[in-house]
Symmetry: C2
Subunit: 227 residues, 2 copies
Amino acid sequence: MLLYYFEMTLSEEDYIKAIYHLSQIDSKSVATNAIAEQMKTKPSSVTDMVKKLSEKSLVKYKKYQGVSLSEKGRLVALSIIRKHRLWEVFLVDKLNFSWDEVHEVAEQLEHIKSDALIDKLDAHLGFPKVDPHGDPIPNKEGFFTKSVKKLISELPVLSEGVCVGVNDSSVTFLKFLDKNNIALGDTFKILDREEFDGSVTILTRVGAIRISEQIASNLFLEIVDEE
Amino acid sequence: MLLYYFEMTLSEEDYIKAIYHLSQIDSKSVATNAIAEQMKTKPSSVTDMVKKLSEKSLVKYKKYQGVSLSEKGRLVALSIIRKHRLWEVFLVDKLNFSWDEVHEVAEQLEHIKSDALIDKLDAHLGFPKVDPHGDPIPNKEGFFTKSVKKLISELPVLSEGVCVGVNDSSVTFLKFLDKNNIALGDTFKILDREEFDGSVTILTRVGAIRISEQIASNLFLEIVDEE
DNA sequence: ACAATTTTTTAGCTTTGTCTAAATTTATTT
DNA sequence: AAATAAATTTAGACAAAGCTAAAAAATTGT
Ligand SMILES: [Mn+2]
Ligand SMILES: [Mn+2]
Ligand SMILES: [Mn+2]
Ligand SMILES: [Mn+2]
């Protein structure tokens, strides 16, 4: 990630991350109001911050035209996301937090400044490639394998892939998955889909099971043989 | 530690911790200039902050009379110190940092807000009683065993105790200790002391060794049969 | 085309934590 | 007991990050 040789405040880092995520959704330039909503602040505060980030060449900004990350800004975003997701892995794998409890704490931990820390944490965790929600962890240079993850409900019959994420991370849903022996990292094959109600039969490590459309639209598979 | 039900900023927490440490050294009330030096700020900034902490009943303060922690303030200090030292244990035991590298990062990590996090970290580390520098870790209620630790150079012949800390945490010194099979947690017995140069013969797990006065005045033993 | 609505920016104010310079209080010397 | 020195506080400013209310620009509807 080539570290960034200028100091960034916690708030600046969160803005950069928000802009990154918003531009993933909509590729074009990001609207002031969208950032305000994401950051739970007012549009006027966003305008002020965006000007500051523009001064530091982290974003490209023209009045009334929205904002987009510069290459420098993109690398900063990925460095923060890397830290966020590594900490999430730590919280789940080492401290036995559950998937849905880790976000808030990771939101704080991602701002700890120490390159040595994050390198050693990465090693301690065995250089994980995805976080507990199945999202990819960028490496030090900001590269990551764009998981071509798709919802089971959107995949054709006979697709096969690794379960890498959930859409709904509520406790209820996670409990359901546990009970049905569905876990991140498992490989599933889609055997059949009912026209009638969209329910899907999948092959899991404990055999074939039937899941409802609702479940199918909340589980991401990473397809093995694509790109 | 009963958590504190009011929000504290990072800066307030660092001030409270500084005041705690300074009042350990000198028991009386702490001087504005002393805090300024510790915090690397100006005395006028300290006055402002101390007024604010006084508003929140964390310190007792009278103009020109110095400042001391209230009971509430003392508990806050101990809660931060607990976090600081647990993170130090984590960095050394789990991430393979060395003793002298952990302070700066722990200085940041101590401010992460999450009771669940610190409980689970404590458990993950096996409920350690001392940090990598031999300093005691307060429990959740703010209690800790005041280690009656003394320098080897200050202990009488035939004293016996567990090596719990170092005075000098320079890399050179730590390397020396490694080479001579001296580690925290080891039990030593003082066999003899030379009047001539103050050098001391101690019994270690690999037999009796002779250490210079300089070394003896940098190693703390916790005496077993006291209090 | 132009009025109405929505989005975005500006202006001005607030809080936190810092600073410098000046004033005040306390401590130390003669 | 002054006079001097040191420690502490006050006054006034500043940067960061937020807010509200008002102005300006862009978009939408007719
Ligand atoms: Mn954050
Ligand atoms: Mn995640
Ligand atoms: Mn700190
Ligand atoms: Mn320590």
